[in-house]
């Protein structure tokens, strides 16, 4: 308990414990709110409730095994995590991925972005009292999860991207399902916007709330739509194109207001842009071609070859028993995840296991901005601010 200068004189403040089991903290986030009446004086964020030592675990796994634990960090965008990790290992190895695999990767990560933004929109809306949006968003997300299941066999923990390419050839006719999404989703986005964009309650709860200036956002390392809502156009896909993003034509939505409403508009516009990328990728993906790099000893051989060629059998055995050893060195690979700059820092010491794997989780960094956003605001605004940052505790605590 401390004393602060209030409008009426010196008063004592009260500490309110929000979380870790609070539905609007999106997981297990604990915020110690120091209150003066209903005004927040200080917000002390306490994390670590979901810490499972993923980075330490990775040091005991081979490079290919470690893909599976990257899924579990940002569980709403597992394919983005797979991509960051696989691309870091590929950079370490100096491995070139076939174009067809690159386009499929782009298509699936953009679908992931839409799916993740849908969950964000649904939960953010339900936090602020709009129940129906939540139900619509999850209805649409289901269609996306069905595609992930169709392609990889899993709805969430996909591990579909592998070092050097993809795990499996996508099933015949999978693009028809994606085409259906490209057709149907724009009208669904219109539906959400009809419910929210000019809704007076929504505007009241988000406009002018949680304002973050561009200078503060950069200083605090905020990235993704949370940064673009403050007028900075930093998007890794445009700044440092990877996986053939430079061949796609899309806009990066930027707003200058820096409040929760601006970030809402950015994300909704981003979903539409993602659909544009998906439909371009559909045109680009050749119907046939390799989905894995030609790198014996790193990429597992084809099943058929293993039955006829001794070499392939030996490679298969070696990859799954002892793994492969990239040259010693360090790489940092950044990609644009739905939440912002997702970085994977890998240190290799020339052994088949990563010497150190560090994930630069966008939510981890973005959450630091919460203190700045809620200072001097009402408790109810803290809910809006937590929601608008789109945090995933799984990747914050790792």
């Amino acid at each position: 308990m401390t004393t602060v200068q209030t409008a009426t004189g010196l008063e004592q403040t009260m500490v309110l414990n929000m979380g870790p089991q609070h539905p609007s903290t999106h997981g297990v986030l604990r915020v110690l709110l120091e209150l003066d009446g209903e005004i927040i004086v200080k917000a002390d964020v306490d994390i670590g409730y979901l810490h499972t030592g993923i980075e330490k675990t990775a040091e005991a796994l081979t490079y290919s095994q470690a893909i599976t634990i990257t899924d579990r960090m940002d569980y709403l965008a597992p394919l983005s995590n797979n991509l960051a990790y696989c691309m870091a290992v590929e950079k370490l190895l100096g491995l070139e991925v076939p174009k067809r695999a690159q386009y499929i990767r782009v298509l699936l990560t953009e679908l992931t972005r839409i799916g993740s933004h849908l969950v964000w929109l649904g939960t953010h809306a339900i936090d602020l009292g709009a129940m129906s949006v939540f139900l619509y968003c999850f209805r649409e997300r289901e269609e996306l999860l069905k595609i992930f299941e169709l392609v990889s066999g899993q709805r969430m923990m996909t591990s579909y991207f592998r070092i050097g390419g993809l795990a499996l050839e996508p099933p015949v006719g999978w693009t028809d399902h994606v085409r259906k999404i490209v057709q149907n989703f724009p009208s669904r986005f219109d539906e959400y916007e009809e419910l929210l964009t000019r809704n007076r309650i929504w505007l009241g709860r988000t406009q002018g709330v949680g304002v973050l200036s561009a200078e503060d956002a950069i200083a605090l390392g905020v990235s993704g739509p949370s940064l673009r809502g403050s007028g900075v156009d930093y998007d890794v896909r445009k700044y440092f194109p990877y996986s053939s993003y430079e061949e796609f034509d899309f806009q990066v939505p930027v707003r200058t207001e820096g409040d929760c409403y601006a970030r809402y508009l950015c994300r909704v516009a981003e979903m539409r842009e993602s659909l544009k990328i998906v439909s371009q990728a559909l045109e680009k993906i050749p119907p046939e071609g390799p989905i894995k790099a030609d790198a014996p000893g790193i990429v597992p051989p084809q099943r058929e070859k293993m039955k006829t060629e001794m070499e392939a059998l030996i490679y298969h055995f070696k990859i799954f028993t002892e793994g492969f050893a990239p040259p010693p060195g360090e790489v940092y690979q950044r990609i644009e995840s739905p939440r912002g700059e997702l970085g994977c820092f890998l240190v290799s010491d020339g052994s088949p296991k990563p010497y150190r794997m560090k994930i630069r989780a966008p939510s981890f960094v973005n959450l630091q901005a919460l203190q700045k956003m809620v200072e001097g605001r009402l408790v109810a605004d803290a809910i809006a601010c937590i929601g608008t940052l789109d945090i995933i505790l799984g990747e914050i605590d790792r």
């Binding site: 994390i47 670590g48 810490h51 030592g53 980075e55 330490k56 005991a60 950079k91 370490l92 100096g94 950069i218 200083a219 605090l220 390392g221 900075v232 930093y234 700044y239 440092f240 010693p328 060195g329 360090e330 790489v331 940092y332 950044r334 700059e341 970085g343 820092f345 240190v347 010497y355 150190r356 560090k358 630069r360 981890f364 960094v365 959450l367 630091q368 605590d397 790792r398």
Partner: protein, 159 residues
């Protein structure tokens, strides 16, 4: 790791060399990524130079990572991944710290985002940051013993 001595043509390196020649301990170029190894006592002044110099303008700190090279001395490595938004360029600054009493000056006053990164490294590696406004454990409970990401931390209990 290839330490190439003739990276001098690079304008960023030339800038840093020109600012304080004794600060640079080595240059590494690997897979197109440039790393400047800096002596720990020069890191904080260099950080201020990197952000304020108009030709560098590394305003965005992406990440700070700790690496434990046990049993090699100096044991700890800190990697500061910098990004210049105006010039779309990246660089990594690396410092090496001894295993005995690893301390370095905090860069939080330069890049406020370093706050949690440094707390995390303090929490998991036991590196202390002088001048950090709030150096507490971040992910682990306050009464946790040891630093789990160190290489000599036991990964299993007694059997």
């Amino acid at each position: 790791m290839t330490e190439i001595p003739d990276l001098e043509q690079n304008p960023i390196i030339a800038k840093i060399r020109g600012w304080r020649p004794v600060a640079v301990a080595g240059l590494i170029s690997f897979r197109g990524e440039l790393t400047v190894v800096v002596y720990p006592e020069h890191l904080r002044p260099l950080a201020e130079f990197m952000i304020s110099d108009r030709d560098l303008a590394f305003t965005y700190l992406s990440d700070v990572t700790g690496v434990d090279r046990f049993p090699i001395e100096p044991r700890f490595e800190l990697n500061y991944h910098l990004l210049s938004l105006s010039r779309r360029e990246t660089i990594c600054l690396r410092v090496r710290l001894p295993g005995e009493n690893p301390v370095i000056e905090s860069v939080v006053p330069v890049w406020p985002t370093a706050n949690w990164h440094e707390r995390e490294i303090f929490d998991l590696f036991g590196v202390r940051f002088e001048g950090h406004p709030d150096l507490r454990r971040l992910l682990l409970p306050n009464d946790w013993e040891g630093y789990p990401l160190r290489k000599d931390y036991p990964v299993e209990g007694p059997r």
